[in-house]
Amino acid sequence: MEMEKYFRVDKLPHIWCPGCGHGSVMMSIVKGIDKMGWDPEKVTVVSGIGCSSRAPGYMNFNTLHTVHGRPIAFATGIKLANPELHVIVITGDGDGAAIGGNHLIHACRRNIGINVVLFNNQIYGMTSGQYSPMTPEGSMATTSPYGNIEPPFDLCELTRSAGANFVARGTVYHLPKLDSYIEKAFGKEGFSYVEAISQCPTYYGRRNKMKTPLEMLEWQKKNSIDIKKARDLDSEQLKGKIITGIFAERDDEEYTARYDQLIKSVQGGKE
């Protein structure tokens, strides 16, 4: 793959910390675009605010770095205004699951043709390490100095329930699988959600007894469990585990396609 085709090489190296997993996930997305053979002119990458949301700046497409939590709303406008565009949203567990949770579930419900990739580092990186709605219970963070008492979301369950056409979770450790989920997601019409477990050694790792990026990858490896295996386990056994795999794969009609039909019928069927 040619770097220049998809990256703004002059902007690299990226601002992410040494060993941050976000670089790996960004590459995974680019590989997905490459595999789809999409014309980069027709690709739009939208993000919110966060370390993860800085990714579009490095990616050589139409890129939009919006406000915290709302990239899916902007993306909805873009996709509906021009359904020809391939619209990818890059978001974080803060951006996408905390402040942006509502837009996420509504986009799932509408099943609008947007591909969301959520970089889940289980912490607010950009703001220096507060807990997020996906921080595991008991974890240390700057705003949970005595250990986090909030149960985290399983956002794959949630997006599936909300109606997304495709839902999967991978990890940076299991990178080739992550690549394949993203590729499948991009291949779907309709809304897709891929969650990539990424590592934030700087703010999550250091406070949670994983000083190096490697320890964090090790943790991903040890705690991941395939969704098929997970089905045989109860919620107690699954506590703290990362369930990976494909959660939903449907072919419900995409929203902008429906809208186009509506226009046709209102206009009296003229093409």
Binding site: E41, N62, R70, F74, T76, V266
Partner: protein, 378 residues
């Protein structure tokens, strides 16, 4: 031409004006007393191949509108007080990234839920200062249904021309009023489209100002020019920078691109200014009562002038100063506890008495209230 004489509601006229200006996208969330705008767009946009979407809230609506604008469509949203408050963050973003879009706010009585079906002009200062940080604002206030049509059309044009969010600030009275309108023929209306880049895509810098007008071109996504956009301070390439010379250059230009054209942006009506020693200043629905008060005062033989503002932000300082400097009483009529009067006070000399004819109880201000503030009324 008679086809353009109609009975129309203010909210409907906003939609007609926007459609005639080329709007093809609407995203919104219903709220009284603006909902008819959404409903009209929902019915009419598909007919012209445009898109209407009801989003999950006002924030999402504002986001979708900016997104659609970047994708190349002229885009509008409409709301009222509580929703206007929610949209503020992304209005600031639109300002910063220079996304053309129109926000219609049909004012009702606030604060908070207030009186959802009652008229007010309580969001006048918010329309100027509602989002955080320094930013310019372009805000238009119609005082009739015809005005609603014309200013809606103008708002879309200016949004495109200046690459900026434009706020159309109605009030419940004008939004819900039905009246006889006489609209210009469509072929008399001049539509403005956003400027497009000319050079090679490779060398395109989205915030590079090659033209004197200080406004960078804006190609649509998918149109052959790839670029990056961020709400962070950014340089001409569109990428973030915190160098003071870059940040001040950007912020200055955002203001100057509008200040430079101020003179052409000031829309207003005047009545009997020359032969007057007193002046009434008003805008929006209050201007209707002000007009009545002015008429009655004139009938009584008082030398009163009337200045009706349609552009309220940027505030037409010179026009107000000019109209008021030789008067010995200025009455500012508005439906709030005194908002735009502060600007009048700011620009006028202290020796001229300035009085507010104000009302903020959910009832349209009356001509009598305004008359009472004039001198020599019995």
């Amino acid at each position: 031409m008679t086809e353009r004489v109609k009975l129309m509601q203010g909210n409907e006229a906003c939609v007609e004006g926007a459609l005639d200006a080329g709007v093809l996208f609407y995203a919104g969330y219903p709220i009284t007393p603006s909902s008819e705008i959404a409903e009209e767009f929902a019915a009419k946009l598909p007919k012209v191949g445009g898109k209407f979407i009801q989003m999950e809230d006002e924030i999402a609506s504002m986001g979708a509108v900016v997104g659609a604008s970047l994708a190349g469509k002229k885009a509008v949203t409409a709301t009222s007080g509580p929703g206007f408050s929610l949209k503020q963050e992304i209005i600031g973003f639109a300002n910063m990234i220079e996304a053309p879009c129109v926000i219609m706010n049909v004012q009702r009585a606030g604060p908070s839920t207030g009186l959802p079906t009652s008229p007010a002009q309580g969001d006048v200062m918010q329309a100027r200062w509602g989002t955080h940080g320094d930013h310019p604002a372009l805000v238009l206030c119609p005082n009739s249904v015809t005005d609603a049509y014309l200013l809606s059309f103008q708002a879309v044009n200016w949004a495109e021309r200046f690459r900026t969010p434009v706020i159309l600030l109605l009030d419940e009275t004008i939004g819900h009023l039905r009246e006889r309108v006489i609209l210009p023929r469509k072929d008399e209306m001049v539509i403005t489209n956003r400027k497009q880049p000319h050079g090679a895509p490779g060398s395109f810098q989205p915030y590079d100002i090659t033209d004197e007008d200080l406004i960078p071109p804006l190609p649509p996504y998918g149109g052959g020019y790839r670029f990056h956009t961020t709400g962070l301070y950014h340089d001409e390439t569109g990428f973030p920078s915190n160098r003071p010379e870059v940040t001040s250059r950007l912020l200055n230009r955002l203001h100057e691109k509008i200040d430079k054209y101020k003179e052409t942006l000031f829309l207003y009506e005047t009545y009997g200014l020359r032969q007057a020693n007193q002046l009434i200043i008003s805008y929006g629905a209050s201007a209707r009562s002000a007009k009545a008060a002015w008429r009655i005062a004139r009938e009584k033989g008082l030398l009163v002038g009337l200045l009706i503002l349609k552009t309220i932000w940027p505030f037409p300082e010179e026009i107000v100063a000019q109209a008021g400097h030789d008067k010995n009483n200025i009455v500012v009529a508005e439906m709030n506890r005194g908002q735009l009067i502060g600007e009048v006070e700011r620009v006028m000399d202290k020796r001229i008495p300035i009085r507010g004819a104000q009302r903020a109880d959910g009832v349209l201000i009356t001509p009598e209230q305004i008359l009472a503030k004039l001198e020599g009324v019995n």
